[in-house]
């Protein structure tokens, strides 16, 4: 079957941190996760904006909790996309969230479950959005399941991500510190540099001071990429716009031909686990689109 943007839809969950997607693409929907402060539950982005979330996080010492969308939330999105023959449903790593299980459960009760393909991005935040964007680029010129399969495989193997945290507190509290547990060392101005590999938070390097952390991003980004219009870059930050801007400039300076797919704020759900001050750099070389 020839898959196009007219017959194929894309569904991402809100941890893709790409809330404006449905405005940009008619065939996209975003299904929100939930963030909870005590007994008050909000739909990620829809009922609580990142700005309001970080303000609340600063003001109150409450610990927010998060939960995956219900299968019903996905069912509603899939039903709304009834006009499309196929749906690619691209999600946060199954090891970080049960979101994809909700999506699968919803797909399972559709009259034709094979209409929906759930895809585990193996990652989070802009990495989900960038994979979905890569699929969208192929849909716009016409593609096949095989091509999309190859793309996903390559994305999971090759896409780059580095992020650094202000504190490990949030990752620890949410139980998502992964293999970086015990590596925290919150002292001596240490900046941990981390990545997500196969759905797990993995330590990359510890350096002291913000300047060295930034240099480390630059070194790793340069070592793993070459300058090309096919190089796609994403930047995400949790209430740290200056740091995000520094990364934008870093990308423009070192890889002037690259395309910056998106610069985004981490939404309430991802922000609740990463904590304010987090900043991440994402990249993927996509010559096939």
């Amino acid at each position: 079957m020839n898959l196009t943007a007219a017959n194929t839809a894309l569904v991402v969950d809100s941890t893709a941190d790409f809330p404006e997607a449905p405005e940009r693409f008619r065939n996209w929907r975003v299904v929100p996760l939930y963030v909870r402060f005590g007994d008050e539950s909000y739909r990620d982005y829809v009922e609580l904006t990142p700005a309001a979330f970080y303000e609340r996080l600063r003001a109150a010492p409450e610990t927010p909790a998060t939960s995956q969308p219900t299968p019903g939330d996905f069912l509603a999105a899939y039903e709304e996309l009834a006009g499309y023959e196929r749906i690619f449903s691209v999600h946060i790593a199954g090891k970080l969230s049960g979101t994809i299980e909700s999506a699968r459960a919803a797909a399972g009760v559709l009259d034709s479950p094979e209409r929906v393909r759930t895809i585990d991005s193996g990652s989070a935040s802009a990495a989900i959005a960038m994979l979905a964007l890569a699929i969208q680029r192929r849909l716009e010129s016409g593609t096949t399941d095989e091509e999309v399969d190859t793309l996903i495989e390559r994305y999971r193997a090759e896409a780059g991500l580095l992020f650094t945290l202000e504190t490990f507190e949030y990752l620890m509290r949410g139980g998502r510190v992964g293999r970086a547990r015990g590596w925290a060392g919150e002292l001596l101005h240490i900046k941990p540099i981390l990545t997500i590999a196969d759905g797990e938070v993995v330590p990359v390097k510890r350096v002291r001071g913000n300047r060295k952390a930034f240099l480390e991003f630059a070194t790793a980004f340069e070592a793993d990429t070459h300058d090309s219009p096919s190089l796609r870059v994403g930047i995400a930050h949790a209430d740290a716009p200056e740091r995000a801007q520094a990364l934008v400039e870093l990308a423009r300076r070192t890889r002037p031909a690259a395309e910056i797919d998106l610069v985004t704020t981490l939404g309430p759900v991802v922000g609740a686990h990463a904590g304010p001050g987090t900043v991440g750099l994402f990249w993927f070389d996509d010559p096939g689109s």
Binding site: S67, Q68, P71, S97, G108, G182, L187, L188, I190, R208
Partner: protein, 527 residues
Amino acid sequence: MSELETVRGLARAALASLEASRQRIDDLNVYPVPDGDTGTNLTLTVRGVVEALDATSAGDRAALAREVTRAALMSARGNSGVILSQIVRGAAEVLAGAGTVDSAALAQAFRGAADAAYAAIRKPVEGTMLTVIRELAEEAVDRTADSPADLLEALVRRGEDAVARTPEQLEILREAGVVDAGAAGLVELVRGIAAAVAGAELPQPAKLSEVPQEAVHLEPSQYRYCTTFVIEGEDLEADALERELERLGDSLMVVGDRSALKVHVHTDDPGAALSLGTGAGIIEGVEIADMRRQTEEREERLLEAVLPRVRCAVVAVAAGEGNRRLFERLGAARVIEGGQSMNPSTADLLEAVEATGQAAEEAVLLPDNPNVVLAAGQAARLAGRPVEVVPTRSLQAGLAALVAFNPERSAEENAAEMNSALEGLATGEVTVASRYASVDGIAAREGEFLGLLDEKAVVAGPSFPEVARAVAEGLLAEPRDLLTLLTGQDAPPLDGLLGELAEGHPGLEIDVQEGGQPHYPLLLSAE
């Protein structure tokens, strides 16, 4: 009673039973993500079904089954909720098509539930809700001759048994000393339904004693010590004692009679609590548990369950309690006491390296002193596995090297990263001359402070802040990002030194830690 009313009653009973155990189930939650919300998620999921049933006007059983299925899907919270929604779906689909709902139909419903749950999860994991629903289905199929009430009662027993066995099936549960939270929740749900069918009061939830002490204490207390004791005496006044204890902490419990009282309190000052006790009578059976330690130990066990063995460990030599803690917090597996005038032997070093053999495949050794470098090399050669020595000549260098440590890399890769982290590091010390000495052309009288830069004496004098300032300024002669100060045992105050340094070097990040090392009132490094 109409069929709808019956179903409403059963769903409410299931919800009430879950509500009663919600907190306990939250506390058990370590898998798949230890975020402590399984009880809450299951409760919210069932509550959604109850609300949909309250609102429905479904005319026949098939329509009712569809609505229940959809309500469970809509309200399914968390992983456990999603699995539960599939269990509900599987059961509802069978019951929609059944004639009379007898034990045979119930058995088929449990079978349908188990099949739907397994089918929905891509990689089913045993030792979870899945195992329990499967075992319930097996039990039900064997008991179709029983009445529905007897059948359900037998299922509760089988479910409890299956839950108790979950730690045998899932490593992380065994390590954490808990049963699976979702599995426990499923049994509470069945317990509620069984009680309603039998027309019984809702039974007590499973005993709290199933939950290990530390899981009970997981609710974060702002206080550190769980303190319990018994007071024996005459005319003991529980109320008066309670009022005084209240000021010391929380989770307070004072029970007993006028001749004996049992006291339980979470406090940072167990001594004060005991004093209140001795003021009232004779105390005995004193138990003081460090809850923070318990939490740390639990996390440690979880950590070991998640990370069975790392690639590389670090063994470091350091003097001073504060420095030891710094090394440990930065990830050193073993810290050997030692330093100037107390050098550990090759055997000491080797023993510490061997001690990391269980936890890590390889190791890096940080001697942190010029006189330990050789012994470290010997120990590395004698060790039966790859051990690299990064020849750090000071404690400050050891810390800088340790920052670059990554447990997932080999010893060789770590050594390379650590060596490159040491490039551009400058170190300094302030020590006390034990007698008149002239070193590198700098003369210091007995008791005076002697300042060194990269192991060379550069300044001496009677004022600690002045010598310290001269060493610090020497380190900052070229532009630096970071200055680290480790204060020694009985070190004189730094006075205004920090303020002056900050003012004179804008943009410099300064970190002061209590190192506690002997002989050196101050160790410094800049990078």
